[in-house]
């Protein structure tokens, strides 16, 4: 620590954590362009792109924090191994985080908090996920047999155990798409919430159309030029469909909530597909940015997590951000009207619509959130203005850092003291939201 004053954790005062920029590789639809690329490959490339952009070769950063939702057991030190594969100084520590789709907000938020406390001066928060190289495991019966085999001492005992092996023991166990406690897939859960909130097919298709068209426009204006490095032949997200329209989206068949019959509204067009990719954001103290002559885009002010009771059907699985958003805004004395950009992660268009409806609903605010009145309406012209997950795709842990980097740049372009709010829902009925201020 070269700073002259005490770190906050040692009795000094808190200091701002600022975002200097970010990097990601284009996101690719699963089992496509990135087939054969591992989490470590993608995270290392993403970090190396960030290092190159900010001239950090040979630098020792305070810490690199990243994670993957779907991780091979051998990748227990995924982030540290990735850091060792980059040109950062080998003395840069790293750790892994996993909180489902909120992982990426938690990694960035953790780095920001350490910077604010004066424990580190600089750091990277990141995330990566692959569906194409998802971990497959032996089923529990087979694991038990292999463990018995391992424990067997004599050849005779080993043969006895080996004789018990059957073809069924070699059927791999794939990661579950369903919620562990309910057995319902995330899409089926969202279909219930979408239906409860009376979100129409048209509302969802409009959110999807805007996401694709906003992101295509952002690519056209070069917005992503300093936020992305090409990877394996891709230079933009291959899920994005420029020129999306309501007519073609309206023709798609129902994918989730089929039991709702005529009232089902969710399709592959207004739901985010499985995606591979990685993203990272560079954060530091103001002093570190100045010393290294790097411009500041935004301040990472705060983040908040929440969880809901979806197991008994009282709350929608993906509605935790509706609890976290009022809490973080209250803490800073802000209202929805103060926010210039809303980045609501589009797990499904229905999630975005239901979140907005819930925040504006008097009953929900009073009876569920325990507030005296509705938080208010979110201006749709401020929502996901550079596109979001429906267009880019959603490699689970990578979504948080993707949004932090993009939003920081948007806020910097908007001007000092502009405000941005991020909302990311997650499996397990959890969610994370974050508040950023432009510089």
């Amino acid at each position: 620590m070269t700073s002259t004053s005490n770190a906050a954790i040692a009795g000094g005062s808190l200091r701002p954590a600022v975002v200097l920029g970010g990097n990601r590789i284009p996101f690719a639809r699963a089992h496509g362009a990135y087939t054969g690329a591992s989490n470590q490959d993608m995270l290392t490339s993403t970090l190396e792109g960030l290092i190159a952009r900010f001239g950090l070769q040979g630098e020792q950063l305070g810490e690199v924090v990243a994670g993957a939702v779907m991780k091979h057991s051998a990748d227990f030190n995924l982030t540290r191994e990735s850091v060792l594969g980059t040109s950062l100084a080998a003395h840069t520590p790293a750790h892994d985080v996993q909180t489902a789709c909120a992982t990426g907000i938690e990694t960035v938020g953790g780095v920001a908090n350490k910077i604010r406390l004066g424990q580190i001066d600089s750091g990277i928060g990141g995330g990566v996920d692959t569906i194409s190289d998802a971990p497959l495991a032996f089923n529990s019966d087979a694991r038990e047999l292999f463990m018995q085999l391992n424990r067997a001492r004599t050849t005779q005992d080993k043969i006895k155990v080996a004789m018990k092996l059957r073809p069924k023991h070699f059927a791999p166990l794939a990661p579950q798409a369903g919620e562990v406690r309910t057995g319902l897939s995330m899409g089926e859960h969202q279909a219930l919430t979408t239906h409860d909130w009376g979100v129409t097919r048209q509302e969802q298709d409009e959110i999807a159309m805007n996401s694709h068209n906003n992101m295509a426009a952002a690519y056209e204006e070069g917005f992503f030029n300093d936020l992305m490095t090409p990877f394996r032949g891709l230079d933009r997200d291959n899920n994005m469909r420029p020129g999306s329209d309501l007519e073609s989206l309206g023709k798609l068949r129902i994918a989730f909530g089929k039991q709702l019959g005529e009232e089902a509204t969710m399709t592959a067009g207004n739901s985010t597909p499985m995606t591979d990719g990685a993203a990272a954001a560079l954060l530091s103290s103001e002093e570190w940015a100045e010393t290294n002559n790097l411009p500041i885009l935004a301040e990472f002010m705060d983040f908040e997590v929440a969880a809901v009771d979806f197991v008994n059907g009282e709350d929608g699985l993906l509605m935790a951000p509706t609890y976290a958003i009022p809490r973080i805004l209250d803490r800073h004395g802000l209202g929805l009207d103060d926010i210039d950009f809303f980045e609501i992660h589009e797990a499904f268009a229905g999630t975005v619509a239901a979140t907005m409806k819930a925040l504006a609903d008097e009953d929900y605010n009073k009876n569920v959130l325990g507030r005296d009145k509705a938080l208010g309406q979110i201006d749709p012209t401020k929502l996901n203005v550079k596109g979001s997950s429906l267009a880019a795709g959603h490699p689970f842990a990578a979504t948080g850092p993707r949004i932090v980097a993009s939003l920081s740049k948007m806020l910097h372009e908007k001007g000092p003291d502009s405000l941005g709010l991020i909302s990311v829902c997650a499996a397990g009925g959890q969610g994370a939201v974050a508040l950023l201020r432009g510089r």
Binding site: G178, R181, T182, G183, L184, E188, L192, Q259, F310, V311, N312, G313, E314
Partner: protein, 305 residues
């Protein structure tokens, strides 16, 4: 919201003759015994219950609790050395079944339909410690499809004689009519209106064998299509008590509480069961059904006291 419609009955073991059993026969031997008698079936006229109360001393083993939890998931906040509610049923079930397999029991064991089950979980039940178990049959009653009987179980702490747990299972025998009793009308059932799906169970085709291995209940109707068809079923069905275990998983709480389940139609394996959990204060209602056919499988409740 669907609620289980459980008969209102009180345990009446007082005037019964005690039959003390040193070692409970295994379920498989009981089934074998009655399978042999299929050749020479009981007369299809029920007369009366044997008037006995079977008693034994047994333990809920740690092994059973571990196997049960690994099949069904943790039971909930039942405490460190406290047995999940269904392991008490499993431990007592072989005694009840041995009693029902006796020649003087008026209803044939095989082909008996489990209609409903209610459990009063009054106190924590210690694992691995001796328990006094009593079981008896009461209330032979006419039913629109045959004759029903209540099988009761009570589990006591043998040193204090404190009643820890009791259950009432209602079974139907289709092949037996009570002499002289008037056959009640089939009650009008309202068409099942499925509630919202809040969970879904995927029951694999070997779940009958798996639950059979844990519980010892290897009734052939649960094991495979072939063995089930041999007993006149269209195919293997899940154990009703497996559904009870599933609906209780993670929801058991500190005693006292009661739970009950009423079975409407069997779950043919493999099965995809749509489930609704609905909580209202101290009562949780659980409904399970086939979403493709809108056909009710069961309704259940867990009630805190």
């Amino acid at each position: 919201m669907e609620t289980p419609n459980i008969i209102d009955s009180d345990p009446k073991p007082e005037s019964l003759r005690i039959v003390s059993v040193q070692e409970t026969p295994s379920l498989t031997s009981s089934y074998g015994k009655v399978a042999a008698s299929v050749v020479r079936p009981k007369k299809p006229i029920a007369v009366s219950l044997p008037g006995t109360c079977w008693q034994t001393t047994d333990v809920i083993s740690r092994q059973l609790v571990d196997d049960y939890n690994s099949l069904l998931g943790a039971s909930g906040s039942v405490g460190h050395n406290s047995a999940p509610s269904l392991t008490a049923h499993i431990t007592a079930f072989s005694l009840s079944t041995a009693m029902m397999a006796e020649r003087d029991f008026p209803l044939p064991l095989l082909g008996m339909v489990h209609l409903q089950h209610k459990v009063w979980h009054m106190s924590d039940i210690p694992i691995g410690q001796p328990l006094r178990i009593a079981t008896w049959a009461q209330n032979l009653a006419p039913h629109h499809a045959g004759t029903t009987v209540e099988i009761w179980v009570q589990i006591f702490d043998p040193t204090t004689d404190k009643l820890l747990w009791q259950s009432m299972a209602l079974y139907l025998s289709r092949s037996v009519q009570l002499p002289g009793a008037e056959q009640p009308q089939r009650p009008q059932r309202e068409r099942f209106q499925p509630p919202a799906i809040t969970a879904q169970w995927h029951l694999p085709k070997d779940i009958g064998r798996r639950y059979g291995a844990v519980s010892g209940d290897r009734n052939p109707i649960h094991l495979s299509n072939i063995t089930a068809k041999a007993l006149g079923m269209p195919g293997a069905i899940a154990h009703g008590m497996y559904a009870a275990g599933r609906m209780l998983a993670g929801r058991e709480t500190t005693a006292p509480y009661t739970w009950a389940i009423e079975f409407a139609s069997p779950m043919r394996l493999p099965a995809k069961v749509a489930v609704n959990y609905h909580q209202a204060d101290d009562l949780e209602l659980i409904t399970g059904w086939n979403a493709r056919k809108d056909k009710l499988h069961f309704t259940a409740e867990i009630r805190l006291h």
